[in-house]
């Protein structure tokens, strides 16, 4: 399963296809649904730059997820590359490898004075293994979005399921869910996270699982409280009086009214997840190829003389750019959707 998600280009392509189709379907639904259409248009108007930057990140990540084999000329120096699947991004900007560190746009190597294979083409220099830093930075977008997206896919459905059931049915279900939530919430999240990652097998999926377990509780509590309120409202009582089943009330009357919370929470969760992953990478238990790992390398690079700054600079721009745009987009969505913060109070 781990290799299926990280290595197999077929799975990756299918996921991209599903994501694009799902995105189109969502867009179509939103377009036909007036309140949502207006709210999202409003959110976009509040911070168009951030939305566009975020879109750019998603595009880069998607470009790095569509991969196929072949198409590499037989004359290429790297013979292995001919038999590997290469992503759209690899083909567009990849394949410019040197032997070790080199400064941005340099013509000679950093430590030893050897000429580069491709002098003056590395806009952000090369890293320890001689990879183009700009290229590695762009590839980090996929890792960050993969970690955030996959974890949300675990955490949000879990939280919604238990939160709504507990809030709607109350009684012993509520007691049970509340106990599990209290138990998980009482463990310091960083400690719980590192303990789980040390105990679980290695791999991206398991990091996501650990992140999911630590992050679903807050959302579950929110969903529970909100369902609790919704359950008592007139339209739910009306539906019940008309003989609607529990399942129908939950799906048709409660879930749609939780959707705006889901969206707001999803964006907040996403930025927290990217931050957590960076911390894990710093502790050597993160995901391969993430920006956190690039920052962790800087521990040694900044103590060199002259310093190697371009690697950490690339990761910084990647990380801060993504987090900033997510945070701003989150604020615009919250301002547009949450009636309490609408208007001048926000």
């Amino acid at each position: 399963m781990v290799s299926a998600l990280t290595n197999s280009h077929h799975t990756s392509n299918v996921v991209v296809l599903l994501l694009v189709l799902g995105g189109l379907w969502l867009g179509w639904r939103v377009k036909r649904n007036e309140p949502w259409h207006d709210a999202l248009a409003d959110a976009f108007r509040r911070g168009p730059t951030a939305w566009c930057v975020l879109g750019l990140y998603v595009l880069v990540a998607l470009a790095d997820s569509v991969a196929w084999k072949g198409g590499v000329s037989a004359a290429a120096p790297d013979q292995v590359a001919r038999f590997e699947a290469k992503s759209l991004l690899d083909r567009a900007v990849g394949g410019k490898t040197e032997k070790s560190y080199s400064a941005p746009l340099a013509t000679r190597e950093f430590a030893r004075d050897r000429p580069l294979v491709r002098p003056g083409t590395h806009l952000l220099g090369t890293d320890k293994l001689g990879r183009d830093v700009l290229f590695v930075t762009l590839k980090g977008a996929r890792v960050a979005l993969l970690v955030g997206g996959f974890t949300s896919l675990i955490a949000i459905p879990l939280a919604l399921l238990f939160g709504v059931l507990a809030g709607y049915f109350g009684k012993w279900i509520d007691d049970g869910v509340f106990f599990v939530m209290s138990t998980l919430a009482s463990m310091p999240s960083v400690l719980l996270l590192v303990a789980m990652i040390t105990a679980l097998p290695r791999g991206t999926i398991w990091v996501c699982v650990a992140l999911g377990v630590t992050s679903w509780v807050g959302f579950c509590r929110l969903a529970r409280g909100e369902t609790f309120k919704l359950r008592e409202l007139d339209y739910v009582n009306a539906a019940r009086a008309l003989g609607a089943s529990h399942a129908r009330i939950i799906v048709r009357h409660i879930l749609p009214n939780l959707l705006h919370l889901v969206l707001i929470r999803f964006v907040l969760l996403f930025s927290a997840l990217v931050l957590s992953e960076a911390v894990l990478s710093w502790l050597n238990i993160g995901v391969d190829g993430s920006w956190g790992q690039m920052v962790a390398q800087a521990k040694n690079e900044l103590s060199r003389d002259p310093i190697v700054w371009w690697n950490v600079a690339g990761a910084t721009v990647g990380l801060v750019g993504l987090l900033l745009s997510i945070n701003v987009v989150g604020d615009t969505i919250r301002d547009a959707l949450d009636p309490r913060t609408r208007g001048d109070r926000a």
């Binding site: 009482s186 400690l191 960076a278 911390v279 956190g292 920052v295 950490v312 001048d344």
Partner: protein, 321 residues
Amino acid sequence: MLAYVVRRTCFGALVVLGVLLFLFLLFFGVTSPDDIARRAIGDKAMPHVIEQWKKNHGYDKPRLPGPGHLTDNLLVEHYRRMLTFDFGKSDADNTPIVDRLKHGAVPSLCLTVPEFLLGLLLGIWSALVVALFRGTYIDKSTTILCVVLMSVPILLFIIGGQYLIGKQLRWFPISGWERGSSAMWRFLALPVIVGVLSGFGGTVRFYRTVFLDEVYRDYVRTARAKGAGDMRILLRHVLPNAMIPVLTAVVMEIPFLFTGSLLLEAAFGIPGLGSLTVDAINANDFATLRTMVFIGSLLFVAAQIMTDIGYTLVDPRVRLE
């Protein structure tokens, strides 16, 4: 009142038992004692070496209760030892964990307490100023600054601080530790600055929302109608009323002061409980990790019970139900 205290404490105790169950599932269910042994002494260890190691570390019993070993098994042993604070030896180097905890607690507190107090003071005061100037350009620029600060991972603050303040300006040492002297504060200065700075954005934003929630209440309008000035309204009317959410947030932070800061301690070479945890991660020292999580949640549950009881004493609106 007494009934409430008893009920609340019982629930807290139940949560602690739940935490222990979770830890058991994680460290004895997901990973087996064989795994732990292999991670500690190497993948290719001979079976009898593994058996011997398990015996030395008390992992050589059946995992779950069964006929013939109803009390003599790992589950019961796990509960018994944790609840009596008999944490045993580290999986990595056989030192008693209690000793390491005792040595680590002081450096951790030396770092986290000043960082916490400074961050709190700065955060609340900045948030008050922002609430006073709400809607003006001061408010807007501070809000933007907060979002920017929140978007910078603490790793970058650490690296930037060590490079700029430590290496270029040479104000404070880059990392290190010396116990109980004036040199200690020189070593602590940089991590405290970095910690306060990286938490500043989130803190100010949180307290700003808390204060703004109060600023639009009726009693504020009444106070203004009476002719009270902005400063007086803020300090005499808003601040006391905002104390409940503020206190909740503050008290809930206190347990984490004891468990230290993983990143800051590891990066600045402070031999506290955070460093201890990081060492435990790198050495696959499961016994230490278990103990740290347990102590963290124990402190958290205790703080939570105290806040809940504190509420009922402070706020007459909170019903005992």
